[in-house]
């Protein structure tokens, strides 16, 4: 199938162009995490040694072995989700700037005419960019995050072995790489679903802007909001500002998908039997069953449609 090959080539192309943001950024972030973890351990040992009580680190680590397996699971769940929520935030920023440049950069460097000299329709081009942002970059981030978690678990295993403790008991049995990967993957998809209207707006800004897509994407809504506020002030109707909360709501959910269950105003479902990860996961999934997601998706489709139209009929130079 030629269309499948075309999509494959277009998506690969995005990764070539954005190797730094899509692949290097999460890897560098992982290296920072690893260096910090090892650095923290070494610092603790050195400081303890300097203060003369050189077995305090061993004592602390020994103490942890007395924790119950439920406690240990909770600690690992928290550790994994803390780390993956940082990944999710970085992913969000990476996609923000990717989409903002997606239909603008090639016009800026004039390579748009090269892309248009190939037998690929403008709709295919724009779709390939949005699905790269929706699925492929998140999958890479999940993959790198899993690799990072695995490396950290191996490092902690080595540390525990140095101190003569059981890594099976403290790491491999309470921590579940599978659960960590699953919650992060659901996190990226929750993020994506909430962010759809934002992604749509960004790709539209990218297509319509002649000079500064960033300013367009930020100032047009800001000016609109300000005018609305002003009109309300002038007419003494300080009534309805809830509509401004909505876009911010989408942005907030997308920034912190793990919190989307409670952010949504639903009461946080708590089940003491569930693990922390399952709890967060179920709350995330419950946030998705909302009409707001559907409105966001509709808005996104309209914006993508306009972006294609502009690319097709106006953006030829």
């Amino acid at each position: 199938m030629r269309i499948v090959n075309t999509y494959k080539a277009l998506i690969k192309r995005e990764f070539w162009e954005h190797r730094g943001a899509f692949i290097k950024a999460p890897i560098i972030m992982s290296i920072v995490f690893i260096v910090l973890s090892i650095g923290f351990y070494i610092t603790a040992i050195v400081l303890a040694d300097k203060s003369g009580s050189n077995d305090i680190v061993s004592q602390l680590i020994n103490e942890s072995s007395k924790l119950s397996s439920e406690k240990l699971s909770m600690i690992w769940d928290g550790q994994m989700m803390g780390m993956s929520s940082i990944f999710l935030m970085v992913l969000y920023f990476v996609l923000f700037f990717f989409l903002l440049g997606s239909l603008f950069d090639d016009r800026k460097d004039q390579s748009v005419l090269f892309w248009k000299s190939l037998p690929i329709s403008d709709a295919t081009t724009v779709f390939s960019k949005i699905i790269t942002a929706m699925f492929f970059v998140p999958i890479v981030f999940v993959g790198v995050y899993l690799a990072l978690t695995l490396v950290l678990m191996l490092i902690f295993t080595a540390i525990l072995l140095i101190h003569g403790l059981s890594p099976i008991q403290l790491i491999w049995s309470p921590a579940s790489l599978y659960a960590g990967g699953k919650v992060m993957f659901v996190g990226t998809m929750t993020q994506m679903l909430w962010a759809l209207p934002i992604y749509g707006w960004l790709i539209f800004s990218s297509s319509i802007s002649k000079r500064r897509p960033f300013l367009f994407s930020v100032f047009v809504p800001a000016i609109f909001a300000f005018s609305w506020y002003w009109i309300n002030v002038l007419t003494f109707k300080f009534t309805d500002f809830t509509m401004f909360k909505k876009p911010l709501n989408y942005a907030g959910h997308a920034m912190l998908p793990y919190g989307s269950g409670s952010l949504n105003g639903n009461s946080f479902r708590f089940n003491p039997e569930e693990s922390t990860i399952d709890l967060i996961m179920n709350n995330m999934l419950s946030s998705l069953a909302s009409l707001e997601i559907l409105y966001g998706a509709i808005f996104c489709s309209i914006m993508v449609g306009l972006a294609i139209w502009l690319r097709r009929y106006r953006n030829t130079t």
Binding site: R2, N5, T6, K8, A9, L10, K12, R13, W16, E17, D106, D109, Q110, S111, L113, F114, K116, S117, L118, P119, I120, S121, D122, T124, Y313, T316
Partner: protein, 286 residues
């Protein structure tokens, strides 16, 4: 289907400005057409219309297809090089080959690699690190490896030094052109391409002012090197243009019997640039 391109009352306006004004022309298969005109005459607009990059009024068919409606389909049979800076800066040679291979059904990678072997370009090299000439070499290698029916070149050699320019047209003529294909070229350096052209289109203020084959031109227009003693005689034939070079008058004539002109001095085919300038002046006088 022998006509690759045919237009009927093709027009395009930007506000009040008419970029293309009622253009009627046909371009047949196997031609190398030079599209010549001053800046802002509508050359690029005409090419863009042919490539489906701009909307227009009137009829335009490129290989039987309406280019604006079916640009993606048309691009299987058309290649174009719009300007030297057109390849993306971040892409590597092997990446661009991969990409075109996967998206263009008529691209031959082995051909492209063979062309590239003749250059200094490495497969891992980024466009960013290439000189303008090298970028054009790469682009030409890609374009020449596509089995296209029509090649459109808009100022392909702009900003290149003389060696690259010469190579460019040599490659085009020797390795690419085969009388089954059609090439349309616009350039300001007319002298460099006139020997390869089969047809000539002059465009001015959105109108075609000359649409002729090079053979017809040779039959209609003559350039004569008239020595001073024949000056008065020559003037009686009303030259379109006259200029003095090394003590001789170089005069341009239209529709004058060749035999009569040979009596005045050496007769040769006029240069396209001279012809173009003369025709513009003639237009203005009329």
């Amino acid at each position: 289907m022998t006509n690759i391109i045919s237009t009927k009352n093709l027009s395009k306006s930007y506000g009040k400005f008419k970029a293309l004004d009622d253009i009627n022309l046909t371009i047949g298969k196997g031609k190398i057409v030079g599209l010549i005109g001053p800046n802002g005459a509508g050359k690029t607009t005409l090419l863009k219309a042919m490539l489906g990059l701009t909307a227009y009024d009137g009829d335009l068919e490129v290989m039987g297809i309406n280019p604006f409606k079916e640009r993606a389909k048309l691009m299987e049979d058309i290649c174009f090089i719009a300007d030297v800076a057109v390849l993306p800066k971040w892409i590597k040679v092997n990446e661009v080959l991969d990409f075109v291979e996967e998206t263009h059904p008529k691209f031959s990678r082995s051909k492209a690699e063979a062309f590239l072997k003749k250059t200094k370009l490495g497969l891992k090299q980024k466009v960013k690190s290439m000189s303008k000439g090298m970028v054009v070499q790469l682009h030409l290698a890609i374009v020449m490896s596509i089995e296209a029916k029509l090649l459109v070149l808009d100022e392909p050699t702009l900003g290149l030094d003389i060696i690259y320019r010469k190579d460019f047209y040599d490659n085009l003529l020797n390795d690419y052109f085969d009388h089954e294909r059609t090439i349309i070229i616009t350039t300001h350096q007319v002298e460099e391409i006139e020997h390869i052209l089969t047809d000539l289109l002059f465009i001015k203020e959105g109108k075609i002012v000359l649409d002729s084959s090079m053979d017809e031109l040779t039959e209609e227009y003559f350039e004569v090197m008239v020595p001073s003693e024949n000056y008065e005689d020559a003037m009686s034939f009303k030259p379109l243009q006259s200029r003095k070079v090394f003590g001789k008058h170089v005069m341009l004539f239209k529709h004058v019997n060749r035999g009569e002109l040979e009596a005045l001095g050496d007769v040769q085919r006029p240069g396209v640039a001279d012809l173009f300038v003369a025709m513009l002046k003639e237009e203005e006088a009329a």
